[in-house]
């Protein structure tokens, strides 16, 4: 079973990832802003879910990104999935 990252580590990883997607600096990505505001449309959920699966070593439903459209919300949701797995 993979070890569970801290909320901070996960949140930073997500910011870095999103920053790569939209070609901006990680510190320009705010954790409380919906990702759609950065120009990420619905299909990015597939890309992000795939990257997260590889990073966390578990399988995820891409709709999790739709249900939790901010980095802060997604971090909490992911930690919940990780701890209940």
């Amino acid at each position: 079973m993979p070890s569970i990252p801290s909320a901070d580590a996960l949140s930073s990883w997500l910011s870095a990832r999103i920053a790569t997607y939209v070609q901006r600096k990680p510190d320009e990505i705010r954790s409380d802003v919906p990702l759609a505001e950065y120009g990420l449309d619905s299909v990015y959920a597939l890309t992000l879910a795939g990257d997260l699966e590889d990073h966390l070593g578990m399988s995820l439903d891409p709709t999790l990104m739709w249900d939790h459209p901010t980095i802060a919300g997604l971090t909490q949701a992911l930690l919940q999935v990780l701890t209940s797995a």
């Binding site: 997607y21 919906p34 505001e37 449309d41 399988s59 891409p62 249900d67 459209p69």
Partner: protein, 581 residues
């Protein structure tokens, strides 16, 4: 002729439809063309389909209908499309497109409502489209905002089949403002109960083809409807749509294939009955070549759609991938084939009277296969974001699809609407089966399969390059704004899946005198190579002769030009009259 034992079978439907070329047949081509000229759906055809109970084919068996295998549904609808695409779309497919949303996300009571309506031969309309937003569903503006225990509908939906006569409609609507992917829902609305002063019907949209299909539009002005019409949970709309499309975007091209079956039959019949340069047109090598190419195209398209349709049952997780691939490839191949056939007919493909008049109608009616319901490019856009994961997973460690997926007659479990997913998780069983099939061939090398192995190896080699390029795609290249080079990667992946479908259908048909012969497979792979611009020119002479002989035998025996070889209504064909008489 003795009636088939099963009154709901394709054969039974074909018998009901009877001889298309008989002018006295109320659902023959003369009547079909008459209705088209008047811009009406053929009334006798609608009554025939009522009597057959076509609506039941859109209702799952568990809900009281006859919808079991998606391949069966395609076969039945293909028979309707062979006769009259307007009936196919206007009577049938448009209700199916709407109903699938209900089977994917609806409650028990919503399912009962829709099942009951379809079993009573009533119509269900599908209100998805807003001309301003095309396939960009997440920008749909039509509103169904909650207010107490009702939803208030505001906005306009356009180009909807049957909206003026449907008992109910599934509307794709914004149920809350804002960005993101959870703001839309499908709403099932009972049109017999909406307050009439809040609803306006738009004038009919006039179209180049499918002229008999009543395409309307509807505007709701702050119209209250019960809030329990939402399918699934509020905000689930985009997810339900993307899952439902996986059923319809393979089913519709599979149905539209029937148009080219009739197009080919019309052209062959005319070529046999016409003399030019001192011999029958069908005896001219160039004519035979076009006819054989088209037959190969039909077999290619049918192998791909049938395997993908069976895949929705057997590999539902990957259906987003395979059905998007079908939607991109099959419509283009069908439209190109029909264009090529028109060159054989010469001026007669353009005439609205005479023995080949149905051709010009079919040519027009075929076009929506490319853009209708979903555009071909939407298929590519579904594949694009999945490429990097495919490169990292399924293409790096290929896993074959279950063999039953390619067995034409193997029974299928019910459609697993609950197992459909937004993405395939990086798996691609079709490509896995391509490699597996090639390996099996290479394990028993023989002279008769040498050419086949050569062809297939060139497809398999493609995978390595595709994998490294897909792995290197930056995220910005995975969405609508991707460059043409990235879109091209999806085309390459699609051809591998199509090649796998043909190879593996062939492998499972070893005992069949035609489908077990490598000739059709080689022909289909050649057509695929032409399509992906790796080959050009007509089929080699040996293949052309083999395919033309089969085509002619099927024509004389009145059998379908697809994988099923089903007998057609009306039995053996009467010869075409020459244009002079």
């Amino acid at each position: 002729m003795t009636p088939p034992a099963d009154p709901t079978s394709v054969e039974a439907l074909e018998q009901r439809l009877g001889d298309p070329w008989d002018d006295a047949n109320p659902v023959g081509f003369s009547q079909v063309l008459g209705a088209d000229e008047r811009g009406e759906l053929l009334d006798a055809g609608e009554r025939l389909l009522d009597a057959y109970g076509l609506g039941a084919e859109f209702v799952p068996v568990s809900d009281g209908g006859r919808m079991a295998g998606l391949d069966r549904l395609i076969g039945i609808m293909r028979a309707v499309f062979r006769r009259d695409p307007c009936l196919g779309l206007g009577y049938g497919a448009s209700s199916l497109i709407a109903a699938v949303n209900v089977w994917t996300a609806g409650s028990a009571s919503q399912r009962r409502t829709v099942a009951d309506l379809l079993l009573r031969h009533r119509k269900l309309a599908c209100g998805y489209y807003e001309l301003a937003h095309g396939n960009d569903l997440s920008r749909a503006e039509f509103e169904a905002l909650p207010a107490g225990d009702v939803l208030r509908l505001s906005g306009t939906k356009q180009v909807i089949s049957n909206i003026h006569r449907a008992d109910a409609v599934v509307l794709f609507a914004r149920t809350q403002p804002g960005t993101g992917s959870r703001n839309h829902s499908q709403v099932l609305v009972d049109l017999t109960r909406v307050p009439s002063d809040r609803v306006t019907h738009l004038p009919r949209f006039r179209t180049a083809g499918m002229r008999g299909v009543p395409l309307g539009g509807i505007t709701f002005q702050d119209c209250p409807v019960p809030a329990d019409g939402v399918l699934g949970t509020p905000g689930q709309g985009l997810e339900t749509a993307l899952k439902s499309f996986q059923v319809t975007r393979v089913a519709l091209p599979g149905m539209f294939l029937g148009i080219v079956d009739t197009g080919l039959r019309t052209t062959l019949r005319a070529s046999l009955g016409r003399t030019l340069y001192g011999r029958a047109v069908a005896d001219l090598p160039q004519t035979r070549s076009v006819l054989a190419d088209t037959f190969a195209d039909l077999l290619l398209c049918d192998a791909f759609t049938t395997a993908a349709a069976r895949g929705v049952h057997l590999l539902p997780r990957e259906a987003s991938l395979t059905t998007a691939a079908v939607k991109y490839l099959v419509p283009r191949v069908l439209m190109d084939a029909m264009g090529r056939l028109s060159t054989v007919l010469g001026a007669r493909f353009y005439l609205r009277d005479g023995d080949t008049a149905v051709f010009q109608k079919l040519l027009r009616d075929l076009q929506p296969v490319g853009f209708g319901h979903l555009a071909r490019v939407a298929g590519q856009m579904t594949l694009l974001p999945q490429l990097p994961l495919l490169a990292r997973r399924g293409w790096a460690n290929p896993t074959p699809a279950p063999a039953d997926l390619f067995r034409l007659d193997a029974p299928l479990p019910p459609l697993p609407f609950d197992k459909l997913a937004l993405g395939g998780g990086g798996q691609d069983g079709f490509t896995g089966s391509l490699l597996e099939g090639l390996e099996a061939l290479s394990a028993t090398p023989g002279a008769e399969t040498r050419e086949l192995r050569g062809r297939l190896e060139s497809f398999a080699r493609e995978l390595e390059g595709l994998r490294s390029e897909a792995a290197a795609l930056p995220p910005r290249e995975l969405t609508a704004t991707a460059s043409p080079a990235s879109y091209d990667l999806t085309t390459r992946a699609i051809t591998l899946m199509a090649a796998s479908a043909c190879l593996n259908v062939w492998r499972q048909q070893a005992g069949d005198p035609f489908l077990g012969d490598p000739a059709w497979l080689l022909a289909a792979l050649h057509r695929l190579d032409v399509w992906r611009e790796r080959a050009q020119g007509p089929l080699p002479e040996g293949l052309r002769t083999r395919l033309f002989t089969e085509l002619l035998a099927r024509h004389e025996d009145a059998r379908a030009f697809d994988l099923t070889r089903k007998p057609l209504g009306g039995g053996r064909p009467s010869p075409a009259s020459s244009p002079e008489t």
